[in-house]
Symmetry: C2
Subunit: 749 residues, 2 copies
Amino acid sequence: MGIELVLGLVIVAALAGLAYACANFFSVKKLPEGNERMQEIAGEIRLGANTFINYEYRVVAVVAAIIVVVLAALISWSSAVSFITGAVMSAIAGYIGMKIATYANVRVTNKALTSKSLSETLKVAFKGGSVMGLCVAGFALLGVFIVFIVFGVLLKQIDAAVARDGSVALASSFKSIVGMFTDLNLGGSFTMTLSSYALGCSIIALFNRMGGGIYTKAADMGADLVGKTEAHLPEDDPRNPATIADNVGDNVGDVAGLGSDLLESFVGAMLSGTIMAIELFTNLLFHDTALLKALIYFPLALAGIGLIGCVLGIASLFIRKKLSSNPHKELNAATWVSAGITMIVGFVASYFIFGSLEVNLGEEIGFRFGWVSPMVGAAIGIVAGIVIGKLAEYYTSADFKPTQGIAKSSVQGPALTVTQGLAVGMISCMWPCIVLGLSIFISFIVAGPYGVAAAAMGMLSFVATTVSVDAYGPISDNAGGIAEMSYLPEEVRDITDTLDSVGNTTAAIGKGFAIGSAAMAVLCMMTSYMFSFNHVGVNNPDFGIDQMFDGVVLNVINPLGLTGAIFGAAMPFLFSGMLINAVAKAAQRMVDEVRRQFREIPGLLQGTARPDTKTCIQISTQGAIKEMTAPAVLAIAFPVACGFIFGAEFVGGILVGATLSAIMLAIFCGNAGGAWDNGKKYIETGVLGAENGKGSATHDAGVVGDTVGDPLKDTVGPCLDILIKIMSNLALVMGSAFASYNLYDIITK
Amino acid sequence: MGIELVLGLVIVAALAGLAYACANFFSVKKLPEGNERMQEIAGEIRLGANTFINYEYRVVAVVAAIIVVVLAALISWSSAVSFITGAVMSAIAGYIGMKIATYANVRVTNKALTSKSLSETLKVAFKGGSVMGLCVAGFALLGVFIVFIVFGVLLKQIDAAVARDGSVALASSFKSIVGMFTDLNLGGSFTMTLSSYALGCSIIALFNRMGGGIYTKAADMGADLVGKTEAHLPEDDPRNPATIADNVGDNVGDVAGLGSDLLESFVGAMLSGTIMAIELFTNLLFHDTALLKALIYFPLALAGIGLIGCVLGIASLFIRKKLSSNPHKELNAATWVSAGITMIVGFVASYFIFGSLEVNLGEEIGFRFGWVSPMVGAAIGIVAGIVIGKLAEYYTSADFKPTQGIAKSSVQGPALTVTQGLAVGMISCMWPCIVLGLSIFISFIVAGPYGVAAAAMGMLSFVATTVSVDAYGPISDNAGGIAEMSYLPEEVRDITDTLDSVGNTTAAIGKGFAIGSAAMAVLCMMTSYMFSFNHVGVNNPDFGIDQMFDGVVLNVINPLGLTGAIFGAAMPFLFSGMLINAVAKAAQRMVDEVRRQFREIPGLLQGTARPDTKTCIQISTQGAIKEMTAPAVLAIAFPVACGFIFGAEFVGGILVGATLSAIMLAIFCGNAGGAWDNGKKYIETGVLGAENGKGSATHDAGVVGDTVGDPLKDTVGPCLDILIKIMSNLALVMGSAFASYNLYDIITK
């Protein structure tokens, strides 16, 4: 594979993925919706979801416009355009994914009703999910293609230089081409343009995750606190006015939010490899331009191959006539096919891209780096991602001791349920961190800092299938809700419940995966950031391979780095606390409204009158938009303000502190929340004895744990992933501005 | 003040402090104990406390013996002896403090009964507390004196070198004297001997805090879960079998545990300044031996002055005949007198120690460093400590919005109580971190890394009074319990309740102070550690002042540092989760026992039969000892194992990660727990309306929050302080061994 073909591969993969997404979209949409009641409920959910996303995107547009102006004024026009591209790609992907989810839900219910077949129903649900998955990878790659074509002057200039100076040109002559990080005169470097693209994606991810997360949990907690706890209604009862809002929330938070979150991780991982390569080159750590191009293009190639692998993997589920009765096995098979193809073709591509350069590599980069190295790094990432996901399953599934322990302690009342859940969440941080740490360590030994980027890329290469599997969950959940609200026969609900419970497991694994991949991507960006403002090699002519390990440093012992790290470590805690408050406030309003309806609508609790679901949807929408402003502003303004006050090194400290504490908090929140949730379900199975089953004091204690865990696992945890990604993207884009203008320098120099 | 007089000042201050402690001890002990019932209860508490501490110290002796052997084998005999000295000093201080607390409690009750005077009663309680406070500072200084006299060869050698080479000797000639960190042949350097002393103190602190914390909370939760929640008995009811154990726990955890914790911080702060000075000198950052001696002695001088200031401050409360009716004001006055004297005399001492060197300092150290600099650093520390304490009060006192918000949300049930408390705890991390970060930043600008050490020292210089005020709280708490159990008149309980509620506020402030000072001390030790294994100056002859800021680095971007930081950040979470489990398990056994007694002892609930309190004490004792083993082993073994596997730089990463995440978790746990506790009390005042007062569902929700918060604020939070201190002490002592023998080097080199 010639290196020049990589951009072609990218666009072909992007278009193939989007075409398949389009086909699946219409294939789902043309299915029948079922009876009038089902159509009506689905229509309400769809309307609610549309209302929210339109409202939200208007707010995002304002924020994005402000950022565009700042970028254009302070950095460069190319950054601003690149930022818009990223935001638009992510926004479209989220929109389409949410759209199809609100079409697919009722069609899944109807398929379960008409076919009575688990595997037929599974196919519809997964087809709906696959639209989101394919859009995530497809639009991400489409945007990358646009950015590379529009701003790819860099690549042409490299070619010109190679023609002029031969393949090993003196790197110093390239400094003006690649663009120094701190050199504002060049109108921003290409690395900043790439980072701006990722920043655009992360802005959408922030709002989708946060807005969606607050929306869905406000509705969920509102529905639970009054409906379940006070009025003792079952889940998804049509008499509960907040039920529709709860179902809307699934589409908004768990489909669109999740999609744009992983889109951002995918882009972040891909570009961090590219940026890392450019920074290594700019810092004179190697001098071979052919190698530079190979390193720049490899992540793109792997992403393209991954998307094609996912198309085949997803299709492998649909082409088979007869599926097994175990949906989990079928979804796993699709994932394994996608990952397997990606891995095998990835090794081939690695050979073609790096094989001819092999001789140079050892000398040039200094660690053992052969053609196989980047792909070994990627493989480590894949394994790490799977192990971290499995660990999340261990800590949160009712099949294992931690969650069972929470359930058992609920016999002693809610205080011990909560205490045990906190303990499980805290303890669960260590193993994923050991896996994460060791995979970073080993991939670094295999291929230097580039190896870490490769590991992140590997973890995310088959993201289309990961997201498809994840998005299938909320669609099935919604389908069950529609069945319940439409008074359909028990057997329909049985099918959707089976799909839903598989969805819960895949969601837990997916959350572990999301945290792991975000951490990997952010650690790469952090390294790139340190490279970009340290300019280790540039200032030191003797800088060589031996200093590789010591060269790029964040000096956490100097006061700037250390103070930054302390500020940074506190940041995720503040952010999380604000998010919890946001959910609680929005939920409070929902509780008041549900109580009002139970009180004021005669016959509602008896089932003779209909609840006013629209007002509930309105409350969730307005609550989410209103409450997400403060944490969103904090996430963006905090690092920027600190950068202009204390400078670039301080921001480096912030990144280190924030990343470390956000990883811990995210794992803690995800696992504690998941364990509480499944602990409650474990109690409901009645294994603790009849006197501790559904409706008992023990169950009430379990419900308290679940309610406490809801905002942690579905709002706080996922948003922390985005927090650290957005902060590192901001740092990469604005770093040069921080270095050039900051109060501290003005005062002290 | 001649520098040579400093050791004299230290021993005079130590003996003065201990003599005053002795006087107060016997002055309290000779007071009458009251009626038979009171004597009996006090006797049970005393017996329980003695049993526990004897049992615990036997376990500690085994652990300490193992460490002594390791130190003697791997490091040096001087380290081993120094370690024992620290452990013995801390153990004696904790023992005496606990002893007097169990004498003082009943005498406080009796004074309230006989004198009916708040201020007379306050004097007895504070006199009891002052024994602990004075012992903390007195024994700490006594031990330091011993270590300096026994191992002070260093100082004599410096003098000899000065006589030989003149006052500005070439630092290279000193390297062999001061002893290189990695130079095992010298039998360990003096810095390692000093660190070993601190390590000895921290081992006792670890066991006292952890054992005491598990003990007290197991008893407390046991008493609450069955007694209060199930049997609806009031606090400290004599029918509740766990009540005595609960009261024993106060003496064990809140007096002995707190004392040895702050003793360790005091020693850590004092010695980190000394160690920092030696490391700066060894790394050729300055060359003036007179300056070296001044920098070594200044922290000792400040500590000595602080203790004398505290003696006067504490005495100022007793010499006044008539006290105001506000105990908080009186305690504050004692603190201000102590701090004020320390501060003023500190500036005088700073002038005498550094004044004559002033001309050299600017040139030698390179940042603006005059005679006033160290004391300005210390003053910044004092201010930061007070502000952090006040912030803790803001987040946890029922007078302010955060805690009131938790109380109000309890109307919606326990889930929202817990959720709101989590949010308050998380949000409360930011401001203390900003204060901490800025004080580090400013004190560094004032006096370089030595300034940070000075700030830590300043914060802790008047520790004797801080601990006295803190220890007064549990004594008053116990006194109230004895009054309740002895059926004394309401007015006695009113007096002790007033004292107790003031104690709650001082405890909240004290906790903030403990975290802040631990963080400061650890950050200094971390810097010393980086210096000690980086040897920046030694390897680089051009190393100069300009590289000061860049010289001492922890490379968190290289895989060793980064992986270490990730492991380290997860460590406090694992440790906390294990502690929570330990408390829950021990509490579980207590719950079972209390239930058994209610069931099997006829007439117990009617008050006609007496509970079997001894069994409860036994359960708490055995539970605490058994459950603390795992987390204690983790705290010690984890950094040591990682050091021998991955080497010294990896451990540096662990320190950074662990410190950052432990600071956040400790603040979170302390403030969330305090806010839940006071939120419950706020509900009990009845301000939320009669239907939400004591005994209502709202109150039950508040009790759930309080119970969840109990292990967080009284076990986890305080133990996290010790965790990071013990890890950094271990690193300082073992760093050279890690650097010399580790698996990673063996494999890669």
